[in-house]
């Protein structure tokens, strides 16, 4: 019963995981299996996310559902002469996607779709008494985006699409405070809040010949605004308790814009190749701000610098068909630089340069049902760095395993 409760809990909490910083890039299982590339070739209804323009290729209505089980494992070693070693608590995060797409009528140029997906999230939980507890004990961010989408076939070669994005999310941050009461107990605080934001997703799909695809997409920045966050303080010594009364707070968490250019090539009837580059506007994450409703002498508004830098990600993937496309095997890789600069490496999200190795299998179970399984493994660089603002130095290593499963159902 407890386990089931946990499962339900993790389902509700949905997509939390740190990946390319807090971007997940697993909004389609086939795409994940091909190194996360998917702007050029429309595979299924997940084109709602990967390229709304390519949605025009949908020949019949389709329902698509997928889920991942991300298992990030992070270890901290104190630097420079540290013997302290700590593993972050083992957690499993389950981002999911649900898409529905359909041509609008018979022989129409319009295709409509609706997507629910979880594009950003992060979560880490350290021991409450660990050496970095004044920076962070636990952080969680999850987002769910809702996207109604319309695609239009301009010519046989060109199609365009656009989607409106409404995002909801949850944010949670816990840390200890260097305040001791007479018994030596430390104070702590917890910031929680719901966030909402809007944005859009544009796509252009060009298919100059039968076996070549180009895709260009632009997903706008979505500013997830926390309007009524709540800051809760615990174990505050009596003498200063009036300075740390529970209060509301506001904050804005930017979900960065992503510009993607993709190329797809059906080399022959068995083998397809995809290449893709993403430009991610991480520069928007300049600082983590908390504007408290009731400021006191000791509780001032906070702005902790993050200064992420914009990054370019390169992805490549291939698909090989067997037995009349009833089976196919997918493989992929990606190079993902870290938007976290030197001097800004925080244990709340100790990001590092990494490579992906991905693979997957899809099986057309029947005329209507397909099953796709994918596995992602990330090779993170060991990173030693400093959070200058907090005087906190550490060596981090993350390993990441992420199996996923998708199911599509075609109404044909």
């Amino acid at each position: 019963m407890k386990k089931r409760f946990l499962l339900i809990g993790s389902l509700l909490c949905s997509s939390m995981a740190f990946g390319q910083a807090y971007q997940l890039n697993m909004q389609g299982m086939r795409q994940l299996a091909m190194g996360g590339s998917g702007a050029a070739i429309p595979w299924d209804a997940s084109a709602i996310f990967y390229n709304p323009g390519a949605l025009s290729a949908m020949e019949n209505p389709q329902v698509y559902a997928s889920m991942n089980a991300i298992m990030p494992r992070t270890r901290y070693i104190s630097a420079p002469t540290g013997t302290a070693m700590l593993d972050a608590k083992e957690q499993t995060f389950t981002p999911y996607n649900v898409y529905f797409a359909t041509p609008v009528g018979y022989k129409t140029r319009f295709t409509a779709g609706f997507g629910i997906y979880t594009p950003f999230g992060t979560g880490i939980s350290w021991d409450d008494n660990w050496t970095g507890r004044y920076l962070v004990q636990e952080m969680r961010l999850n987002t769910t985006f809702f996207q109604p989408t319309l695609a239009f076939q301009v010519t046989d070669e060109i199609s365009v699409g656009a989607g409106f994005v409404y995002g909801i999310g949850n944010f949670e941050y816990r840390n200890a405070m260097p305040l001791l009461d007479v018994n030596g107990n430390e104070a702590s605080r917890e910031l929680t809040g719901r966030a909402t934001g809007v944005g859009f997703n544009l796509g252009l799909h060009v298919k100059p010949t039968e076996n070549v695809h180009f895709g260009i997409t632009y997903r706008s920045q979505v500013n997830m605004k926390i309007r009524r966050g709540y800051a809760r303080f615990s174990d505050i010594p009596g003498t200063v308790s009036s300075s740390y009364l529970n209060t509301g707070f506001e904050s804005t968490l930017p979900m960065p814009q992503v510009l993607t250019a993709g190329f797809g090539w059906d080399i022959n009837e068995w083998v397809t190749l995809q290449l893709e580059a993403n430009y991610t506007g991480w520069g928007a994450y300049d600082s983590l701000r908390f504007d408290f409703q009731n400021n006191t002498d000791l509780l001032q508004d906070e702005a902790s610098a993050r200064r992420y830098r914009n990054s370019i990600t390169l992805r490549a993937g291939t698909k090989i068909n067997f037995r009349n496309e009833r089976w196919s095997v997918m493989l992929g890789t990606a190079y993902i630089p870290s938007p976290v600069r030197e001097g800004y490496l925080n244990p709340e999200l100790p990001d590092a340069v990494h490579f992906l190795a991905t693979g997957g299998l899809s099986w057309k179970l029947s005329k209507r049902i397909s099953v796709i399984g994918a596995l992602e493994y990330r090779f993170y660089e060991v990173r030693t760095g400093l959070s200058t603002e907090h005087g906190f130095k550490g060596k981090y290593h993350t390993k990441w395993l992420n199996p996923g499963l998708a199911l599509t159902y075609d109404f044909n």
Binding site: T83, A84, L180
Partner: protein, 437 residues
């Protein structure tokens, strides 16, 4: 969903998703840390909040160093533990709300522990549980190390010495057959004078006298030749600018706030003297035999002791209605004497380092950075401010556990640099800080 979970768990079982970086094993380098001896005075013994108590001893910098030395072959390190946490031989300072005679509202103040002290058995000699690695003897000056039977006049030494009645403190330093040492001496040689407001009367043998540089040199040299006798290595510590400790900074010289009525009335009262008051903050009036009328106002740069009785200021009019006794302040002349002594002592320490080829841990420099910029450790900021700063304990002169840990880390840096060791740093935020009620 559940299957996904199981699949993932199976794959993780293959250790594919467990990070495998390991910390480097600490190395001892060229020094032998197996038996560590800490030579020093109050700071070394673990005096905190003006008293010796068990938690303070457990948060002393030598105790921390000994723990870190264990990672590179350090052995047992014995401390002359006292029995409890209330303070000995006086009650430790705590923060509490008090209401003075002239105050309408209670305010937060530093007050002594009010219950029974940890005196049970504390005066007895406990050498049988020694010999002690922590030879920090509170209230000692360097020159005391050459005094035969010094323990008869120092209850701390009397507790922990092998031969309290006959030995000189310097003779007791060889009891542990140490292989590594730290020496932090010389603080009391000048701090006693400073903390007494520069008053040394009546006797010439008063312990508040500043130690003469020559005597300092001789005694320090004797300690050095003793602790290095068996080829032991170690590090010696410089003496900080004691005047920047919160004990002399908590109350500003220009700290008397007056309203217009009082200012006008006092200006009439002190008419035709050099004393003048304005509305707002004013320099305290102090006794000074060399000034006309025997009193004057403090000047910029002069200091007030933090333990000046607040009631006397508020109720008896110290510093405004009547001059404040000179023992509560440090005048410019006294400050000059103190600074001169600290400089001369530090020159001796540096010279000793050179003569005995022992690295000097420049605690003076480290504390100067704390006085000026504070210190930061893993998200916590420490400054020299009393109470809020977290570095100094409530007596304004000795450190909190976290202050001691930061000092210990600066010592470890010196040791690692000089001996090629890689002793891990102390996790500062795990030690005691200022406790707020």
């Amino acid at each position: 969903m559940k299957k996904l979970y199981i699949l993932g768990a199976m794959l993780c079982g293959l250790s594919a998703c467990k990070p495998n970086i390991e910390p480097k094993a600490p190395e001892r380098g060229d020094a032998d840390f197996s038996r560590y001896l800490a030579v020093g005075s109050s700071h070394t013994a673990g005096i905190m909040d003006r008293a010796l108590y068990r938690e303070g001893q457990g948060n002393s910098y030598p105790y921390m160093l000994a723990q870190q030395f264990r990672t590179v072959g350090g052995g047992d390190f014995k401390q002359p533990w006292v029995s409890g946490n209330h303070g000995w031989p006086v009650g430790k300072f705590m923060l509490d709300h008090v209401q003075g005679r002239c105050d309408t509202l209670p305010y937060l103040a530093v007050v002594p522990f009010r219950g029974a002290l940890d005196t049970t058995g504390t005066y007895l000699n406990i050498y049988s549980t020694g010999p002690f690695g922590n030879m920090g003897i509170p209230e000692t000056k360097v020159t005391d190390y050459l005094t035969t039977g010094f323990a008869l006049s120092n209850k701390f030494a009397n507790r922990m010495f092998d031969k309290p009645t006959t030995a000189r403190p310097v003779d007791e330093l060889l009891n542990t057959e140490h292989t590594f040492f730290t020496v932090w001496l010389g603080v009391e040689d000048v701090l006693n004078y400073a903390a007494a407001g520069g008053e040394t009367a009546p006797s010439a043998t008063n312990r508040n006298l500043i130690t003469a540089p020559g005597a300092f040199h001789t005694a320090y040299d004797s300690v050095m030749s003793t602790v290095t006798r068996n080829g032991a290595k170690g590090t010696i510590l410089t003496i900080p600018d004691v005047l920047q400790m919160p004990y002399f900074r908590a109350i500003p010289a220009k700290g008397m706030e007056l309203d217009m009525r009082d200012a006008n009335r006092l200006n009439l009262k002190y008419n035709s003297t050099q004393v003048h008051f304005d509305v707002g903050m004013n320099y305290f009036v102090i006794e000074d035999a060399t000034a006309p009328n025997g009193y004057r106002q403090l000047r910029e740069g002069e200091l007030v002791r933090m333990d000046v009785p607040q009631d006397s200021i508020r109720c008896a009019g110290w510093g405004w209605e009547v001059p404040m006794p000179g023992t509560w302040v440090l005048t410019a002349d006294e400050i000059q004497l103190i600074r001169g002594a600290v400089n001369s002592y530090n020159n001796t320490v540096l010279l000793m380092g050179k003569n005995y080829n022992i690295p000097v841990s420049d605690v003076r420099y480290y504390l100067q950075t704390v006085f000026e910029n504070g210190a930061q450790y893993n998200g916590a900021n420490y400054t020299a401010e009393l109470i809020k700063g977290g570095f100094f304990s409530l007596d304004g002169r000795h450190f909190t556990g976290r202050g001691n840990a930061l000092v210990a880390n600066s010592i470890i840096h010196t040791i690692n640099e000089h001996y090629g060791s890689s002793i891990p740093l102390v996790d500062v935020n795990n030690f005691s800080g200022v406790k707020l009620p």
